[in-house]
């Protein structure tokens, strides 16, 4: 019986993963417009950041406004070292550097909480921004770095938007799969336990220090990898792309999507990536409509827009909510 259950579990996981991979790559096949392909790639990159932030904040309960800073670290690692080491080395390297710095930044989370922790992480993003802006000899300062090339494997270059989207989609898939795996392992339960009742979790043997640091570092590493994908997408980077405002945008994705819900963070990323573009007709009024839409979502769906998906799911299947992770 156990073997059958386990077999079914693996079958479900493989089938779900394949569906996810196909969905992520699909825009490369169906979209011909460069604009839609750019939007799809941007949504994937946002998904990586918000998925990581959801682990830090939604699951482990540690607020972080440092994601824009980590994104910048990943992007500049790729842009500065890409020509010598190549994209395939600098992409994980950017993630690794952000991961290690994230471990360091995780230490304050062992001492301070909530808005005090938010202040620490805001400080971090501002410091990264100032370094990128002022260390002109390394970073190009306010002018940024131009001519960032798209990657290639041997003779095959992913230069077209459709080809580059495949690269972004596959990287997104790998990172989402790892997050899904981790959140379904005992780690996910430990993260949630820290969010729910830190003191009690510690009394059940949960090492608060280790898990909090890992939650912080994973979120940072994810943003670092996402940063490495941004440079080749735009072809250039400058410090304003990693300013504090973007940290709030990532926070918005997780909250609007559904804090602590794997699928919620992904939905939030898609909404935040696409909504401003669909509101371009409103010209100068679009930020107002965008902000209003976010406020309305939070008023009518306090658990995030994923609760709308739950509602549809309940209508169709009669089950309470669609939950991809435990």
């Amino acid at each position: 019986m156990d073997k059958i259950n386990q077999g079914m579990r693996w079958q479900k996981m493989v089938a779900g993963s394949l569906c996810g991979l196909v969905l992520l790559i699909l825009p490369s096949v169906i979209f011909k417009s460069q604009y839609f392909l750019y939007l799809s790639s941007l949504a994937c990159i946002y998904m990586i950041v918000s998925c990581g932030l959801n682990i830090t904040m939604g699951y482990a309960g540690q607020i972080s406004l440092a994601q824009a800073g980590f994104l910048g670290i990943g992007a500049y690692t790729g842009a500065l070292l890409g020509s010598t080491l190549g994209f395939w080395v600098t992409l994980p390297l950017g993630g690794l550097i952000a991961f290690v710095i994230g471990l360091g930044l995780g230490f304050p989370s062992l001492r301070v909480k909530t808005h005090f922790l938010a202040m620490v992480t805001i400080g971090f993003t501002v410091i990264v921004y100032l370094v990128l802006m002022n260390e002109q000899q390394w970073t190009g300062g306010p002018y940024g770095i131009f001519n960032i090339k798209k990657p290639s494997i041997g003779p095959f270059a992913f230069t077209s938007p459709a080809a580059y989207h495949i690269v972004v989609a596959v990287v997104t898939f790998i990172l989402l799969f790892f997050a899904f795996w981790a959140l379904n392992s005992p780690w996910g339960r430990a993260f949630k336990a820290i969010r729910e009742n830190e003191g009690r979790a510690e009394m059940l043997g949960v090492s608060i220090r280790n898990y909090k640091l890992m939650a912080f570092a994973i979120g940072a590493g994810y943003a670092g990898v996402a940063g490495g994908l941004i440079g080749p997408l735009f072809g250039y980077i400058d410090p304003t792309m990693f300013a504090l405002g973007f940290s709030f945008l990532f926070l918005l994705m997780v909250v609007v999507g559904g804090l602590g819900r794997f699928e919620g963070a992904l939905l939030g990323a898609i909404i935040v990536a696409i909504l401003p573009e669909t509101l371009r007709f409103a010209e100068q009024y679009y930020p107002i409509i965008f902000a209003l839409a976010a406020v309305l979502i939070m008023i009518f769906m306090p658990k995030g827009s994923v609760s709308f998906v739950d509602w549809v799911y309940k209508k169709l299947t009669g089950k309470e909510e669609l939950q991809l992770t435990k």
């Binding site: 386990q6 009690r200 510690e202 009394m203 059940l204 090492s207």
Partner: protein, 251 residues
């Protein structure tokens, strides 16, 4: 053989002394009772022993090792489990997840746990325990939706998940219906017969007198008596601590 011992255990909160040098020892396989009026320091004693509160003085020994002021996670992994007077749950986690959390950190390394997908063994143990406690039908319910009595049972179930060597029970039968109380008492006795050493804090005198082989009494942070249930029942100092003196009554 002593499995657990405190020597001169002290705990102060600024000016107030909650524990004033408590000496207690519990032998292997013993079912030991800790009683005392409200505010006598019983739960503070548990909190100090399990690392939740830092001791202000004295020492705690477990199986010959000094565990004074070690972290709660380390003490739990050494094999001391406890339940709580005021329930401490993970409200937005299911009953089954609460049970599984109680055991997962005692198994393997942190990175080993990341690779763990198959928890069938733990799930089976959790369901067996929930079945015994008659709350297995609530396995997928968020623990915040459980009644007080059900949460108490879940708390009890969680402490049993790891099969700890020393079990500290803080008012285990409080808020539990009479029939289940009797079953819980039987289960505590069975656990004890299986070789578990147990310390019980309890307000219900029937429970503690029927259950325990040896009892210590705390009053205002001091141990005022220790002995068999009969000795404790006839101890004048204990009677005074619980019921006051005749002069108090006249006042």
């Amino acid at each position: 053989m002593k499995v657990f011992e405190t020597r001169g255990l002290k705990k102060s909160f600024q000016e107030f002394s909650a524990l004033k040098g408590v000496d207690i020892h519990v032998n292997e396989g013993e079912l030991f009772g800790l009683i005392g009026p409200n505010g006598s320091g019983k739960t503070t004693f548990f909190n100090c022993v399990t690392g939740t509160l830092k001791c202000s003085g004295g020492n705690v020994f477990f199986r010959g090792k000094d565990i004074t002021n070690k972290g709660p996670d380390a003490i739990y992994k050494m094999g001391i489990g406890r339940t709580f007077q005021l329930i401490e749950m993970f409200p937005r986690m299911t009953v089954l997840d609460n049970m599984l959390l109680a055991i997962q950190e005692s198994q393997g390394s942190m990175f080993g746990r990341l690779l763990t997908m198959n928890e069938d063994g733990n799930v089976k143990r959790a369901l067996d325990l929930l079945g015994f406690l008659k709350i297995s039908h609530l396995r997928d319910e968020y623990s915040k939706n459980l009644s007080y009595g059900q949460q108490k049972l879940l708390d009890f179930g969680m402490v049993l998940m790891t099969n700890p060597k020393l079990i500290l029970l803080d008012e285990p039968t409080c808020g539990v219906e009479a029939e289940m109380r009797q079953e819980l008492m039987n289960y505590i006795r069975d656990l004890n017969k299986q070789g578990h050493t147990i310390i019980v804090i309890e307000h219900n005198m029937d429970v503690v007198m029927n259950l325990c082989t040896r009892i210590a009494v705390l009053d205002a942070g001091e141990k005022i008596a220790e002995g068999t249930p009969e000795e404790i029942q006839n101890n004048a100092q204990v009677i005074e601590a619980y019921f006051g003196t005749e002069e108090d009554e006249e006042c």
